[in-house]
Amino acid sequence: MEFKKYSKTLFFGATLAILAGCGGNAATQDQEEGAAGTDTEVQPVITSDGSSSDSAITGEQMGQDVENLEEKAEEVVAAMPEIETIYFDFDTSSIRADSREVLDMHVAYLRVNSDAKVVLEGHADERGTREYNMALGLRRANAVKSYFQVQGVNSDQLEVVSYGEEKAAVMGHNNAAWSKNRRVEIQY
């Protein structure tokens, strides 16, 4: 009795499995593969309403940072910072906490060398539409610009340009490439 029940389940299960395996066509299989590929992707969830991006840094933090910088500036003086690129999360222009250190080095340099000019080049990854990414790249560059400005860099030293997804730093269609392409390049 028990065995019969078991075999019946097995039997129908096998029927379904085989039919399902055979019934599909190339198109759906492709889609499944595509979907499987993106399942592994970890996308940052955007919870803020987007307004925080430009003003993500609060006044208090800035005050502290400025003080710290005063001290740091003594040490770095004329050394041009080596790291010139900071990275962003998908579809956001908020400056990540781990980018602050790099930006602060640039702020220190720019404040000491007030004749130095810098172009902030905003970029996006290939996903999404080109013009939206163009705007997103601009917002990222603008976010860096505001950060510099509130830290006391003269706005005459700063120029902003966006290339959207047109100038990828890394070729490729995976998370590793995308994360390297969502960036702002600080070019002297």
């Binding site: 019969k4 075999s7 019946k8 039997f11």
Partner: protein
């Protein structure tokens, strides 16, 4: 209520065990699937009857007529070449073109009374290889 009292402790299985039925059905299915193609391999001939019902000549469903003369030559009633005898290879090519577009086309064989049986069978085989599924033989009603 009394029925409840007399119920046996062992639980009855009220459902029909369908597994044997499915087994039988599947075996039958396999048998039919295997035999079905074998059955259609023979030459299907609708033998002309002395008094046969007239064929429906439907404008939407024109028949393709192949004639066989006494000499055993074939004629395909198409286009300008109606009067020209046609080789079995070319016949197969042309009929193939038609059956690919029109798989249910009715192909009618108009054989001369005295044509030898072998060439009719050969024609039917050519037609079937060319994809014709619906082959009929034309007959004339007996004169009264």
């Amino acid at each position: 209520m009394s029925g409840y009292r007399y119920r046996k402790p062992k639980k009855l299985v009220a459902e029909i065990n369908v597994v044997p039925y499915i087994d039988v059905m599947l075996v039958l299915l396999v048998i039919f699937m295997v035999t079905a193609p074998i059955l259609t391999q023979g030459v299907k001939v609708e033998l002309p009857e002395a008094v046969s019902a007239p064929l429906d000549v439907n404008e939407d469903d024109l028949p393709l007529i192949v004639a066989v003369k006494k000499t055993g030559e074939y004629f395909l009633e198409l286009g300008v070449d109606k009067e020209q005898p046609i080789s079995p290879a070319e016949l197969s090519l042309k009929v193939g073109k038609i059956t690919r577009q029109n798989p249910t086309v009715q192909v009618l064989v108009r054989g001369d009374k005295s044509v030898d049986y072998g060439s009719v069978v050969q024609l039917m085989s050519v037609l079937q290889q060319a994809g014709a599924r619906n082959i009929g033989l034309l007959s004339q009603p007996p004169e009264k």
